[in-house]
């Protein structure tokens, strides 16, 4: 027992020394250039998956794997998110106790707006996702916030996304140092290796996109949030972006953050901005 623990301990210590020895001197870092990043990002996936149209990237694994696409087309005859969609419409339209409703909190009464989230709020100086805005709307109207990952939140998301289908992601990064910092933070979170398995989001969804991992085909990072929320057979239920981030962190033995943690919101901001031009296709279905 002691010996085994000792050897794990030695391995970890050696890994720690290795990391430390790789540590270069701190530097200020290059200029923040979201538009340039976006061009390079989209060009990378166009090269990696020739023949896949920009909008088709919203379909994740189905965009890049023919076999799976067939199964999907069958499933889509009775989409498993239909229940959530009905629920979501009902919840969205039901008035709060004070007589107001979600429509009163959003531009265009909340219809056809999914493509503009997350946005950077210049007043509060932070990234606001659709889910955060939904809960803030509730709280402003004296209602309790909803849990973020599943259930009613996913249903309301599903309905709001459905009214935005076909509208291309249109994320803006205002020329404000705080907005640029949030973008850069999200970008860093995406490319940083973390967890005991030492993977970044990019390790799986850029470098290994389209390849098989256990039973799954890894979705390309381009367009990967356009179909949210998703019904995953694997989960047996709907899940929001937060649910996905949490489970992808867990896969690499990294302790996940709390849903809507600032770092997750910045990450969603970065990923959505990379996908500008990809049409909203949510809610989606996944294996």
């Amino acid at each position: 027992m002691i010996g085994r623990i000792g050897s794990i301990y030695r391995a970890a210590a050696a890994a720690a020394l290795l990391f430390t020895s790789l540590l270069p001197a701190a530097s200020a870092g290059p200029r923040i250039d979201p538009a340039g990043d976006q061009r390079a990002f989209q060009a990378y996936f166009e090269r990696a998956f020739p023949g896949v149209a920009l909008d088709d990237f919203a379909n994740g694994p189905y965009a890049v794997n023919k076999e799976m696409r067939k199964q999907w087309e069958e499933i889509m005859q009775f989409p498993p998110y239909d229940f959530a969609l009905d629920d979501g419409k009902r919840l969205f339209e039901a008035p709060f106790k004070n007589g107001k409703s979600y429509a009163d909190c959003f531009p265009d009464r909340g219809i056809g707006i999914r493509q503009s989230y997350p946005y950077f709020d210049l007043r509060s100086g932070e990234v606001v996702t659709l889910d955060l805005a939904i809960n803030r709307c509730r709280e402003q109207n004296g209602e309790k916030p909803l849990p973020y990952e599943v259930g009613d939140m996913a249903a309301i998301d599903a309905y709001m996304a459905s009214t935005s289908r076909g509208k291309p992601f249109d994320i803006r990064i205002p020329d404000d140092p705080r907005a640029l910092a949030a973008y850069e933070n999200g970008k860093k979170f995406f490319y940083e290796r973390r967890g005991q398995l030492n993977f970044s989001c990019a390790s799986c969804h850029v470098q290994a996109a389209g390849r098989r991992m256990r039973g799954d085909i890894l979705a390309p990072a381009l367009g990967m949030l356009a179909s949210f929320p998703i019904y995953r057979s694997d989960w047996g239920s709907m899940g929001t972006v937060d649910r996905r981030f949490v489970s992808c962190n867990e896969q690499v033995r990294s302790l996940p953050l709390k849903p809507e943690d600032e770092a997750y919101r910045d990450l969603e901001y970065f990923l959505s901005y990379m996908s500008n031009g990809v049409a909203i296709a949510g809610p989606g279905t996944r294996p």
Binding site: I2, Y9, F19, T20, L255
Partner: protein, 103 residues
């Protein structure tokens, strides 16, 4: 001293520590646990806590509650090593991540 020699010395020192865990007392456990918890808090500040670290800390607390201090101390030291590896990972990634950016 070369890095390799350093690693050997460090590993030997650590192995020595884990042998010292035989017949640990509660106060030895407390010290080992405090060191682990502190390292894990630092990893938290760097947004890079690992689930196996949390699992080792939890198992250490459980073993200590059942007065199995040898095992508890070994688990706490394992948690500390994991937490330190996560800190080193996070520190290295502070600049290394840029090399992975799609260009």
């Amino acid at each position: 001293m070369s890095r390799r020699a350093l690693a050997v010395v460090a590993a030997a020192g650590l192995a020595g520590l884990s042998c010292g865990a035989l017949a640990a007392t509660q106060s030895e456990f407390d010290a080992a646990y405090a060191a682990a918890a502190q390292a894990e808090a630092q990893a938290g500040a760097l947004h890079d806590q690992w689930s196996p670290t949390e699992a080792a800390l939890k198992a250490a607390r459980q073993a200590a509650e059942e007065k199995r201090y040898d095992e508890a101390s070994a688990l706490a030291r394992r948690a500390e090593a994991l937490a330190k590896a996560s800190i080193s990972q996070a520190q290295a990634q502070q600049s290394l991540w840029r090399e992975a950016v799609v260009k």
